[in-house]
Amino acid sequence: MKSLLYIIALSFSSLVMSSEWSGHVALEYRQFTTDALLAEQHDQIVSVSVQPEWFHEWDAGKQSFTFVPFVRWDQYDDERSHTDIRELTWLKAAEDWELRAGIRKVFWGVTESQHLVDIINQTDFVENTDGEDKLGQPMLNLALIRDWGTLDLFVLPYFRQRTFPGTEGRLRTTLVVDTDQATYQSDDEEKHVDYALRWQHTLGEWDVGVSHFNGTSRDPQFNPGFDSSGNPVLVPYYALIHQTGLDLQATLDEWLWKLEVIRRSGEAESYLATTGGFEYTFYGVMESSADIGLVMEYLYDDRGTAATTPFQDDLMLGLRFTLNDEASSEALIGIIDDQDSDARMLNIEASRRFGNHWKLNLEGRWFNHIPANDSLYSLRNDDYIQLELVYYF
């Protein structure tokens, strides 16, 4: 009893000693530059998000606990106003293994234009169309750290549905997606247990990863349906899949060569998709401290026009400007050009810091010449420019 009290006192004291709060609050303003396709949509949208983080470590840093809730409030879109637990994890690190239990985000891959191999987390699609915002995924993850690389084993006991904009939201399909009616191939629905493993290793200039996932696809298909008021909607359907992935990067001085390949099979016909290319950086251009990077990637999907992604035969060209100044000013301008049609997507992302706590982000997306058979067709009038002011604490 005495030792129990002692342990409690000790853990409490360490709780007080090495816990910390951090996080950010952001104010976002989106201005759509073309008139909305639908009467219920809006052209100017204000939104606020908060993401605090509580971190606590003990056992000389070998164990830790992290909690990251997330809240977004959107002026009009009830679906974009949402909350999530981005992270709620316990970690134990030992000499040749690491164990993590809880809700987390995991990233796999090397390319910039899209993230084919990255499959553990569901996309938080209402946050951004670029697929880089993710929902927290419940998991048990054991990493075995050996001379021959790191082997990560995952058990994923609960499935997260993709988020979709609501009736008043922009950047959506013409018919809204009714996530309440979602259907699954598995009778266990979202309780189906998924498994994944990944081997990762560095060999000199090469960083290589090989992964396999078996479970519910993070990418839904859509079936037509009706909501409770009888309005036509799209109903997501989540199939069971096997996906094998390879990601490879060669770092050769100014050149980064990148490749991601996946093969996915399941109910539907199996297919292969790949993203490959390079990033070349000119360091210290014109005797300044600024760097300019040239990014070129080719995106391929062997289903062709039947692909569920818009990138089946596309070329991405990007320019990355890094000023290396006191404000960490940087910008990335990218074009994704469909090789089979005139469809073109232009992206701009830029940011700079003000003082020690503030950051201003600029983002712009333009959709040009999107043909009616392209999966981006419903976004053809959703060009926008966004300013985001973030306070970090």
């Binding site: 830790s64 690190a93 750290i145 990762q200 560095t202 770092t251 100044d325 020690n356």
Partner: protein, 259 residues
């Protein structure tokens, strides 16, 4: 005749032994400095950088790091950014090498992404400061060719003035001139000359302290850029040794959970 040849031969040998060339003496100083700095095994540090522009406007960065001595190669290091707050948790893992390209990874906590990055940016500024990556990376003897200039005094201390010429790729410098303290075998001052051969920056080391009764470390560094009028103060708030680090503390897995 025979005697003369022998005498000439002896003269040549003694010349080789005792009359070092300036290059040999410069190298000998670097080798001695390297020898005296061996055996520290591992190190934990906390730092504060103050960046100043020509108008005197200041901004600060706080970082902490770990380093592991690697015998016969460059050191391994893990650097974690604490402020500015937007980069909090960003971590940088580096395996340095003398002449071969360094191996570097960056961890971006918002994306949970580990990125292998190019090490060709040696001459680029570290966190917007006047310190370039090559100024703060592990100093190996093979990284330079040397030339001893003369013995001198700096701030009342005896020094060697030693020139060094970077031999690794992507350096922003043609030459550095170092004022090496004769007692500590550590630099008190270094001048950096740009690719055109003009004086670019001056670095001074201050308030040296000895750790583990062996290793001299400065508590403050001042870097002044003569061409832009900007300067950076680097305060070493703490040095800790005997942390028991292993290679395992410097891999992609430890990078992902670095705090």
């Amino acid at each position: 005749m025979k005697g003369t040849v022998l005498a000439l031969g002896l003269f040549a040998v003694s010349n080789m032994l005792y009359a070092q060339t300036a290059e040999e003496k410069g190298l000998a100083i670097a080798v001695e400095a390297d020898k005296r700095d061996q055996g520290w095994t591992d190190q934990a540090t906390t730092l504060k950088m103050t960046l100043r522009n020509r108008h005197g406007d200041e901004s600060t960065r706080e970082i902490h790091g770990k380093a592991l001595e690697v015998k016969g190669d460059g050191d391994k290091s893990l650097t974690i950014f604490d402020t500015p707050r937007d980069v909090k948790g960003t971590a940088f893992l580096s395996f340095t090498h003398a002449l071969k390209s360094d191996e570097q990874w960056l961890y971006l906590p918002a994306l949970k992404r580990v990125k292998r990055i190019s090490s060709s940016n040696k001459s680029g500024p570290f966190m917007g400061s006047e310190f370039a990556y090559e100024d703060i990376s592990s100093q190996e003897v093979e990284k330079y060719k040397y030339k001893f200039i003369k013995d001198d005094k700096l701030n009342g201390r005896d020094v060697f003035i030693n020139e060094r010429f970077p031999q690794y790729k992507h350096s922003g410098y043609t030459k550095q001139i170092a004022w090496i303290d004769k007692e500590m075998y550590q630099p008190l001052k270094i001048e950096f000359y740009d690719r055109k051969g003009s004086l670019l920056k001056t670095l001074t080391h201050h308030e040296y302290k000895q750790y583990l009764n062996t290793y001299w470390r400065p508590s403050r560094m001042e870097m002044v850029n003569h061409q832009t009028g900007k300067s950076t103060t680097l305060l070493w708030l703490s040095y800790q040794y005997k942390n028991g680090y292993t290679d395992r503390d410097f891999d992609r897995n430890s990078l992902k959970r670095a705090r």
